[in-house]
Symmetry: C2
Subunit: 447 residues, 2 copies
Amino acid sequence: MPKKIIVIGSGAAGMSAASSARKYDLEAKITVFTEDEYIAYSPCVIPWTIGGKVGWDNIIMHDPQYYKREKNIDVITKTLVTDVNDVDKTVTAGGKKYEYDSLVIATGGTIFIPPIDGRNLKNVFVVKTIKDGQSIQSALRESKTIVIIGAGIVGLETAAVLNEIGKKVVVVEMMDQIIPRIIDKDMADTVQKHLEEKGIKFIVRSPIQAINGNEKVESVTAANIDYPCDMVIFATGVCANLTIPKILKLDIGQLGAVEVSAAMQPYRDGKIVSDIFLAGDVVQCRSAVVSGPIMSQLGSTAVKQGMIAGSNAAGDKKIAGPVSSPWVGVIGDIHVAGTGLSLGLASWYGIKTLEGKATGFTRARYYPDRKPLTVKVSADVFSHKIVGAQIIAGEDATGRINWLASAIASGTIVEDFIYRSENAYCPPTSMVRDVVLMAVDDLRNKL
Amino acid sequence: MPKKIIVIGSGAAGMSAASSARKYDLEAKITVFTEDEYIAYSPCVIPWTIGGKVGWDNIIMHDPQYYKREKNIDVITKTLVTDVNDVDKTVTAGGKKYEYDSLVIATGGTIFIPPIDGRNLKNVFVVKTIKDGQSIQSALRESKTIVIIGAGIVGLETAAVLNEIGKKVVVVEMMDQIIPRIIDKDMADTVQKHLEEKGIKFIVRSPIQAINGNEKVESVTAANIDYPCDMVIFATGVCANLTIPKILKLDIGQLGAVEVSAAMQPYRDGKIVSDIFLAGDVVQCRSAVVSGPIMSQLGSTAVKQGMIAGSNAAGDKKIAGPVSSPWVGVIGDIHVAGTGLSLGLASWYGIKTLEGKATGFTRARYYPDRKPLTVKVSADVFSHKIVGAQIIAGEDATGRINWLASAIASGTIVEDFIYRSENAYCPPTSMVRDVVLMAVDDLRNKL
């Protein structure tokens, strides 16, 4: 009898789980249930599709027919899973019961919208699915001024794209800096200044209070001031979607997401629930830096966890490491990246840190088209372990942040990083001593 | 009494040694002796200055006046050091004796030119110093066809630049592939095909036999065939310049360069020679992969070693780690990078390896202006340690190769790399699972 594997959710975690299960078990019957119509696309690209840089059709990598034909995976779209029973091992989807031997829950998250007046008015959107993006794009034709709620990476990527296509953009952020929590104020201020020079307006330290209008949005109120606008986009971050975990009474961790083992298995009353695996925005992760859990709601994390959860659902024995969660955003023409803890988060966890910082270029100082590159690295003053890093660059932040993320995930101390690290050099693509190493040199001198 | 520190050589190693000595000791009398007229420039950029992409004036970072004014370092140019005596601790330069308390030898290397007929003809050049580059540039006006001897990175960078400015370029290589020793044949063939499509001609498996002509070069003979040309450029790699080490009777290692301790100190008859430090192309390095020594004649290695040698000469206690030597070259519009051992070198050392390979893009598969990206990673079949990696990419190879170099330098095994590694993702700058991780996934599946 082939093994019956059911996956709930068709995002990055769900689809990589299904594909990885297939790689491990060529015979299994694998079924994916999803509420969505479109599967296997990257929600991270939606800011650019809204702006017309990429077509909607291009971003959908595969359709259900592809999965059936190439991988013998059944993807059942537009079908809500309403119940899961781990005693008789069944899933109820679209009113029908399906048996499973292994189950992967990859139900992702939902955008948090604060409970304020006017949030159901016309032209109030979130940036999450293709449908959201398409709705925004249609409404853009008649919108001149757009308020974006939330100055995180997705909010700013969207702001920069809308600014580029000629819209007036106002970004409202409740915290006292943009990109709060994940980068430091000095780095955030550099990004804000860059975007202000392009004409984007920022309202910080201003929680949104109301969205005003009759049928359609006409203004938002933040910190007691009204900002007239034609459109509001919430980019307020994602909360784990706990509907199914709650049905199963799985243990929910202190960050409001499902606690899982390294094998991506959930707990109930502290004991592992067998034959169930989770992946993606619905779980909390082990941090590589602090002893407590941490959220890592990134597409790349979802894919990695999906690979582990799916393989294990098929019988493999894989485990996930602690996370340092490297991320990168492209905001207009600058790349902003980070990994580990910002100074603010480190201080919130009670970790005393010192930081090193260096500024240089992505190419040799004299090479044409060089772009500025600033790197910050911080370390725990007791252990000297690198706990966080941030980069702002005109290009090439991605490989550099992965390099630093890998060091953090391995618990590398500053002295050992200097001792072992080298950098490739060629004038059209780096400085002779990379700015990453210059920043760590600076940190070592301070420790 | 301020400490007297003498540095011999004004390349990357020498100048970073002098600057690092000054950082550690604000009082020391620091003197740099150099045969050269121009100091503190990157010879790595010369292919592009020849082509006119960068001006000669731009590539000289600083002159002797700068070092005097900003760092109180005396740089004595156009002055040859003819003797060093480590008993009375003196250096003889320009016919005068100078006392030292600490000495840094950073005399670099010289281009190897095989002892063949015609090598002293007019229009036969090497690519090393600014003067070499300027001589090439002058002679280019009357040259249509140029033969480059040696298909290493510098040879190919030069070939691509000369091709771009409309010259007919023939590259002659004695080994059976281009970029021999440091990358594998499949990767080299990709680069060769790319350059052949641009019109560059390659003659491999063909040691140069003669350079022919009367006063001026008219052709070269390789593998018994004559290739007419107006100019010959040797890009045949660098040999350690051992004049001063031989005067001091320092131990020369099996690779023909000076053996040094982790603190960059030389040996004589197996015992450390005190108060002398070396850095740059003149030394051999400890390998992070094999137990024997290895050469790492890279600008970035020279800077790192110079920092250590110079600091230690001033009284600091720094050590250099084993090297995985990441390098990157920009050949026309492709970036080629490597670290650790190629398959050929691994096999030469008797290391049995398996390799993983993946091909993808530098941005999301659907994102405009994405460039192809191929990554190869190899591991020791016994230890599973990553021993080598190579990248060919349209952009952004540098950070990725540093990431892999760091893993090799830390002795990371494949399973641990997968367990701990994450990648930053944003559609304009990466795939959701980076090609580096895809290559390591492939390798793990084979192990």
